[in-house]
């Protein structure tokens, strides 16, 4: 048997969260400043052949209703779960379904911080995007968005989305 010479990361199926039309629901329209919204729990990230993904590439897009102060953020956290049922074995009092989260400034500390979309005031109320890399440890993830932009998020549903692409390690001869 020959040992593999090298390996690479292979993209799996992307999961999209949106207020409608995505694979999963996450309603960010008109989210108030300081408010938080969780999305549906993902399906299992574990591939029957490749196992747990080595990393998740996250693309987060959002917009504010009125120009934010430069450098203000919209935070993204991940609640990990090892159970497929929406409301089971979640940290941070997450329900695993699209809903507001009360006391987010306390409960977000029980989740993993994935990153923050740092807003530019030059982009006014246009869509702003940022990518993050995240290393999962469980099969299921629940995204939580905490609005710290100082503004209400944009009222147009199409301005908000969250895409997570799992990447699996592949060995090559």
């Amino acid at each position: 048997m020959t040992l593999p010479d090298y390996s690479h990361l292979e993209a799996g199926t992307k999961i999209t969260w949106a207020s409608s039309g995505g694979d999963k629901t996450l309603t960010l329209t008109s989210l108030a400043n300081d408010a938080a919204r969780e999305g549906d729990k993902s399906d299992s990230l574990i591939d029957g052949t490749k196992g747990l993904p080595e990393l998740l590439e996250i693309l987060f897009e959002t917009a504010v209703n009125a120009t934010a102060t430069d450098g203000k953020t919209v935070e993204l956290y991940i609640g990990e779960s090892d159970n497929a049922t929406a409301g089971t074995d979640n940290p941070g009092n997450l329900t695993g379904a699209d809903a507001a989260l009360s006391n987010p400034d306390e409960l977000k500390r029980q989740l993993y911080y994935a990153g923050a979309l740092v807003l530019s005031n030059a982009r006014t109320t246009n869509v702003q995007k940022q990518r993050f890399v995240y290393f999962p440890t469980c099969a299921y993830v629940v995204p939580l968005v905490v609005n710290k932009s100082g503004q209400t998020l944009h009222a147009t549903a199409g301005n908000h989305s969250l895409e997570i692409t799992p990447y699996y390690r592949k060995l090559i001869d």
Binding site: A32, D34, A35, D98, A99
Partner: protein
């Protein structure tokens, strides 16, 4: 957009809270969605200079050499009005300050300041875990729930 029965129930439960008592529909909607201002009266900040400034020069001279000055200073820094009230009695009884100084100092302890406090909108906490609840309640949905609960 119509609410589901569970969402409607959550909205009605929210509007049943005592903090909506006496609010018009419009004010109740603001309470739910908007940061509001509330007047608040708090004790005024005490300072060494402010307190020394209301007592006589004799009282000031006596105090400057008082062995417990450090303790008094600490109670001023801690804004400990109860302890300072006791100090006024003790210092008056000991002849360090006179009755007029004591009256002036007691008046300083009673001073208040009016502040405006920001009250965050209830929407930040009201509907945690209610699946699919919109981040802003549609005015027609709000009105229907308000009329049922408060109308």
């Amino acid at each position: 957009m119509s609410l589901t029965p569970a969402q409607e129930m959550a909205l009605k439960a929210e509007l049943g809270r005592s903090e909506y008592d006496g609010l018009t529909e419009s004010d109740a909607s603001d309470r739910l969605h908007v940061t509001t201002q509330k007047a608040k009266t708090v004790p005024a900040e005490l300072s060494v200079s402010g307190l020394l400034g209301v007592i006589s020069s004799t009282g000031q001279a006596n105090l400057s050499s008082h062995p417990m000055l450090g303790e008094i200073r600490r109670d001023i820094d801690n804004q400990d009005r109860t302890a300072l009230g006791v100090w006024i009695s003790v210092l008056t009884a000991g002849g360090v300050i006179d009755a007029a100084d004591a009256t002036n100092l007691s008046a300083q302890l009673a001073l208040t300041t009016d502040l405006t406090e920001e009250v965050p909108p209830r929407i930040l906490e009201a509907f945690g875990g209610v699946e699919g609840m919109p981040n802003v309640i549609d005015s027609a949905d709000f009105s229907a729930a308000y009329q049922e609960v408060r109308g």
